[in-house]
Amino acid sequence: MARYAMAIDPKRCVGCADCVVACQTENNVPVGYCRDWIVEELTGQYPSLELEIRTERCNHCSDAPCVRSCPTGASHYEENGIVLVTHNECIGCKACIASCPYDARYVHPEGYVDKCTFCIHRVEEGMNPACVEVCPTHAFVFGDTDDPNSEISKTLRSRKSKTLIPEAGTEPNIFYLL
């Protein structure tokens, strides 16, 4: 079975938000909402500055508090590790929103809770997620970590990486390359 993960290289990312628009159009995310977004973190004082530009989204945590806190099972793991919300099982209690340390979820105007799906509809067809496919700077590597020969496995072996808020213990599957 595949286990999907994403490695993101902030060094390449220019913060253009193309990944955001591509996600919105691909997945019909209504204007005013988003499944992914850009964070720019500046440290230092003029003129010794450092800027990290990251694209963020649901981390598809291996130990996902959103899944744990969901009373109906709408939030669940797929076999391949992707965390999904089944829209017509979701009651809109927002427990998952409150439980996600990454603020990755939002209430869709239609009432259910929505978030990044790792574009499972594309991945299952053998394609990259829309954000990965569009990124002009090739900041993403997406793939199956169970396959030692996959690009992502190789990337994660050859380069150091970090995850966001590891202390929250959620075991994210999005890795930021250092």
Partner: protein, 317 residues
């Protein structure tokens, strides 16, 4: 110095700059849950202690209010749901890991039980009242046979319910301010305290009131201890937790919390109750009202502050 800019797409309504998943409905729901738990607990407890005839307010009258209270609470919960048509999904599974799930089931169990409990006292509270439906009357009489059993079940379920109101929040590691194991006991104790306060309001019996007041003073004492303990815990923890505590120690919640919750909702009633026990004449409705209001505000502030505190990007300095 760190500058954080969130570009594009983010700033979702409901999430940024501070999470706004829950408005007034959830804190009200939690307050009512705690209050109902408190009433039921003491009703069952005094019943089991055989205070039957003396503590009428606690054992017989208080429970009459519980089913409607729970109905209001459930309504609040229902109003909060954004995908209401699928409400029934709550009751197609149980997820023990999800407080929302077992809380909903606890309510599901405690609601009919509290109704049965209350019904079993109808003939005691309204002795002149003739039930129009004889079957109903028979049913209520029949229920009386199971009071002891029901009482034990209520003790258990009310503690679960009271704890649940706190654990619902403390299960969310994602919100540093909720991320403390003290929230469960704190809300339980606060729920019990609001329960005693409610019963004090109902009671006309001096002895009963005195007894309730004594219990309440202990509960308030525990609450104050838990609150101090909670903040000490935060301050001894990671930076995000320290930041979360700072919301109350100089931050935006400082004034409301220390004035309304601690001073007027806990310390003031404690003093008045103490003075009353010492023989000063103070109408018991005064501390009781303050406790109830303090308890309500506590829920609102904790729900709100939890949503303000976050691990990543701080918008509020």
């Amino acid at each position: 110095m760190k500058e954080i800019t969130i570009t594009s797409g983010r700033m979702n309504p409901g999430i940024d700059p501070v999470l706004h998943a829950w408005g007034w409905e959830i804190p009200l729901y939690l307050f009512i849950g705690g209050l109902a738990a408190g009433i039921l607990f003491f009703s069952a407890y005094f019943f089991l202690k055989g205070k039957g005839e003396k503590f009428r307010a606690s054992i017989q009258i208080g429970p009459m209010f519980v089913p409607p209270l729970l109905a209001i609470g459930l309504l609040a919960l229902f109003l909060d749901l954004s995908h209401k048509l699928y409400f029934w999904r709550l009751y197609t599974t149980i997820h023990l890991e999800s407080p929302m799930s077992w809380g909903a089931w606890t309510l599901m169990l405690i609601f009919p039980l509290s109704l049965a409990w209350a019904l079993s006292f109808v003939s005691d509270v309204f002795p002149q009242h003739e039930c129009k439906f004889p079957a109903m009357g028979r049913f209520m009489n029949w229920l009386q046979n199971y009071r002891t059993f029901m009482a034990w079940a209520l003790i258990l379920l009310s503690i679960v319910l009271g704890m649940y109101t706190g654990i619902l929040l403390s299960a969310f590691n994602a919100r540093p301010f909720w991320n403390t194991s003290i929230l469960g006991p704190l809300f339980l104790v606060s729920g019990l305290s609001t329960g005693t306060a409610f019963l004090m309001l109902l009671s006309k019996d001096k002895d009963e009131r005195r007894h309730l007041s004594q219990i309440d003073m202990i509960l308030i004492g525990i609450e104050l201890f838990l609150i101090i303990h909670m903040f000490m815990g935060f301050l001894a923890s990671t930076q995000v937790h320290i930041d979360a505590a700072q919301l109350f120690l100089g931050g935006p919640y400082t004034a409301v919390f220390w004035t309304f919750v601690v001073t007027l909702g806990l310390v003031f009633p404690l003093i008045t109750e103490f003075m009353e026990l010492r023989g000063y004449h103070i109408p018991p409705s005064i501390p009781a009202t303050f406790i109830l209001i303090g308890g309500l505000i506590l829920r609102f502030i904790v729900v709100d502050a939890g949503q303000t505190s976050r691990w990543l990007y701080k918008f509020m300095e």
